[in-house]
């Protein structure tokens, strides 16, 4: 098995950390953008870029509540995202075991 077997969308440090962090939440729970940014120590611009890529793949879903300055953006992992992360970790385990 080669590294090509790993999902390229997840196989990047920042996106991997985003996915693992959100997977630590209970199924269906959401995490605010601010808390996620603080936990991962990413700039807002970087985080938005990575979230957009993962959202395009339907691994994540962003939820916006409220209007104007009171608006709050939250992120939640989809079932598809959870399954993708599980497949990624399984592939990674096999890859490392075979090295």
């Amino acid at each position: 098995m080669t590294a090509d077997a790993l999902d390229p969308l997840i196989h990047a440090p920042a996106r991997l950390r985003i996915m693992v962090t959100l997977a630590a939440l209970n199924d269906g729970d959401t995490l605010s953008f601010t808390r996620l940014k603080d936990m991962l120590d990413l700039t807002p611009g970087n985080l938005i870029t990575h979230l957009r890529k993962l959202e395009d793949a339907e691994y994540l879903r962003t939820v916006k509540t409220g209007n104007g300055t009171a608006s709050l953006t939250s992120v939640t992992m989809t079932r598809r995202g959870r399954a993708a992360l599980e497949a990624y970790t399984a592939a990674l385990r096999d890859l490392i075991a075979g090295v």
Partner: protein, 225 residues
Amino acid sequence: MNKTHDTDKSPAGDEDGELDPRDAARIIEQTEIQARRQFETSSPLAALLGAGVFLFGYGAVWFSMRDQRVYAGPAGWSLALLYGLIAVSAIVGSRVSRRATTGVSGRARRQMQAQSAAVMVAGMGAWVVEGALRHLGVSFRIVYGIFGPTVPLIALAAAAGGYAAAREKWPELGLTMAIIAVAAGSTYFGPNGAWGLTGVGCCVALMTYAAVLTVRLRRPSPVQP
């Protein structure tokens, strides 16, 4: 505003396919441990503080009554110490819980609010019964010496244990079962036993729970071969 993009610190760049598999496994492990710590609503420190409440709070009450031939109740200073320790422990516990759930919404938060309500109602129910027993003429020795230190605790632990069982939180379920067993068993030994044995037993249970929590928070990722 000099925030560094975290991926700059990573062993590989952030471009697709550049990340070494072993580095990826390390990132998963570190991130999992960090996330577990951040989202965990109970901390080893809070559990140790709880152990201190039982050892020193219940211990102080036991100490103040240890030579009583006829039950006269605990000394005021021991009750003040007990309630002071309970207040400190409650403040620390709520801070840990608030920190863990900041920014988190959805089922987890609703479950926690429901758990808090269930535990509070269970405790209040037991305290109401305690008042009713005294109102009906049951002796101070039984009401405050035996019922007081054990039954409300059993009610609180039972409510918390039900929640832990529903969420398959086994260490928390084990802790609540141990507290119930110790508190129930200690009632056979009179007021001194109820305060002393419950204090020591619950202290040991909470210290064991703190150790289990510490190990769980440091558990390595299943990705590592």
